[in-house]
């Protein structure tokens, strides 16, 4: 359970770290007719619209148009077909990219001047410059246009996630090269810290509805995928894991209970002769019952304490050794531990009650004959 809790928290943290307050936005066909426009209209959001968003909508912190094409990269006669992204200078923050030491991501002034500068992934760097080669300052070609490499993505787990093959240039250079005017796929927005992505969805839909004449309540007209949706899907995913863990926990409890019931039964069965003797020399039913029941109680409490101590020690041990990052540090839930302790203690008391009562009711003669 502790491992599961650690894994869930780690997953939640990782996914939220990637998603943050960011949200992917794309346009779709409208599903409602509006002011004489029939449904099925596809609004053509321009790159300029997206770039202007932080200025016109106070709730938007930053954007990136996510222009993307497959391009031929070449360097010293070696060619490589990879994805090129046209993004804003904010993209490095927005996508939480890490740049290897010595390099940098392009800045606003590079964008304004349409500087031919590029940031490449570690994998692309390795293809052209080898594992230990220096790519910074080198010029290479993107679809025949020369760009200077100013940064390489760090060989980082998070960068590897989906940025292995990419090259980033400014959206203006991209537009200059390919002549793009519209958002063909999707764009990224990051909301201000106090604005949820759910609120941002409403704001963006209303804004573009006013600009492109569609119903602001038409939820089909624009697509959004952001932290709120991720949160929703994560919570289902984590709920699934937690249900699975709970079922496992219950099965462990059930097996444990059977074991406990069996032990309690054996305690009485094994001691039939002793119980008979005790009754013969003067023990009353109540005294026998109390004796067996107290023993059960001691077994329950001592067993519970040993179990809890083992769990605590194992969890502490696992927290201090290096586990794969995706597993996360095991986290002992005291609530779960307390519930397990109480449930088992209760089961032990119930399973101890009946053998104790059976022992108390034993006929001393029959018990002595066993």
């Amino acid at each position: 359970m502790a491992l599961g809790t650690g894994f869930c928290e780690r997953s939640k943290h990782d996914l939220m770290d990637i998603a943050g307050n960011s949200m992917a936005v794309w346009q779709r066909a409208t599903s409602k007719s509006y002011r004489g426009y029939p449904k099925g209209q596809t609004n053509r959001i321009t790159i300029a619209d997206v770039i202007a968003l932080p200025k016109v909508l106070p709730s938007i912190e930053m954007v990136s148009p996510m222009l993307n094409k497959s391009a031929t990269l070449s360097y010293m006669g070696k060619a490589y077909m990879k994805g090129v992204w046209g993004v804003t200078a904010d993209h490095v923050k927005l996508a939480k990219l890490k740049i290897a030491t010595g390099g940098r991501f392009f800045i606003q002034i590079d964008v304004e001047r349409q500087a031919r500068v590029a940031v490449i992934s570690n994998k692309v760097k390795q293809v052209f410059f080898g594992k230990n080669g220096n790519a910074l300052g080198a010029k290479f070609l993107i679809d025949g246009v020369s760009f200077t490499i100013i940064g390489v993505l760090a060989d980082d787990e998070k960068n590897k996630l989906d940025r292995d093959e990419d090259v980033f240039i400014s959206y203006k250079s991209y537009q200059e090269m390919y002549g793009d005017k519209y958002i063909e796929k999707y764009f990224f927005v990051v909301t201000k810290p106090n604005v949820s992505t759910m609120q941002a969805e409403q704001i963006l839909r209303s804004y573009f509805a006013g600009k492109y004449n569609f119903d602001k309540n038409d939820k089909e007209a624009m697509g959004f995928w952001g932290s709120s949706k991720i949160q929703e899907s994560i919570s289902w995913y984590l709920l699934g894991i937690q249900i699975f863990l709970s079922v496992c926990g219950m099965m462990v409890l059930a097996v444990g209970s059977l074991g406990v019931a069996n032990i309690m039964f054996l305690i009485v069965a094994e001691r039939t002769y002793e119980i008979g003797l005790r009754k013969a020399i003067g023990a009353t039913d109540q005294q026998i019952f109390l004796q067996i029941f107290l023993e059960v109680l001691v077994i329950a409490v001592v067993g519970g304490i040993i179990g809890l101590a083992s769990v605590f020690l194992t969890t502490t041990f696992l927290q201090h050794i290096t586990l794969p990052a995706w597993i996360g540090a095991p986290k002992l839930s005291w609530l779960t531990a307390a519930i397990a302790f109480l449930v088992l203690a209760l089961i032990e008391l119930v399973t101890g009650f009946f053998p104790a009562r059976r022992a108390a009711k034993m006929d001393p003669i029959e018990a002595l004959l066993t």
Partner: protein, 226 residues
Amino acid sequence: MNEVIAELHNIGKTYHTGKVNFEALRGINLKIERGEYIAILGPSGSGKSTLMQIIGCLSTPTVGSYFLAGKEVSKLSGDELAKIRNLYIGFVFQKFNLMPQMTAVDNVALPLVYRGIKTEERRKQAKDILRHIGLGQHFSHHANELSGGQQQRVAIARALVTNPEIILADEPTGNLDSKSGAEIINLFGEFNAKGKTVIIITHDVSMARHAKRIIEIQDGSISASR
């Protein structure tokens, strides 16, 4: 004439097994005086063990009445009988019936637990009795560290520790060699000489001869008393 300590009137005991009824005892009339040494003699299946169980309050009769120390005990509940056993009866069983996980002292002290006596006092009384019967060197020995004769002495000490009215011994030498058996018989003789009521249940005529009165049981009835 001494005071009557146990008196059985027309005692009968019938066991019901399914549709079959088995009459183990019928029409038993018996008076036992304080300080008597009695042997209840009979072959296997004669009803002598059933009679011992009734005298020892381990079982109640189907019919008749039983007065122990002046009190009618044949209709008492299980818990009341347990208290009576603890107060009036000291049992000695053929198989010794010691607790293997306990020391000799703890075994002997066990009946005192149910009198609510404190541990220290229990152990003191148990040691006194063990010393008295010659087991002063074996206080902390467990049952499996003692010979058969020593185990039976521990069992006798346990029967005596509560200072009961009656010592009830069921085939007490049945599991012993002749030398140890003779020592145990001598012990019973000593206790009786000191005024204890001793009842021995046996099928062994030679052992029964050590008693002052022999009651013979045959098919659930007293066939002779001499």
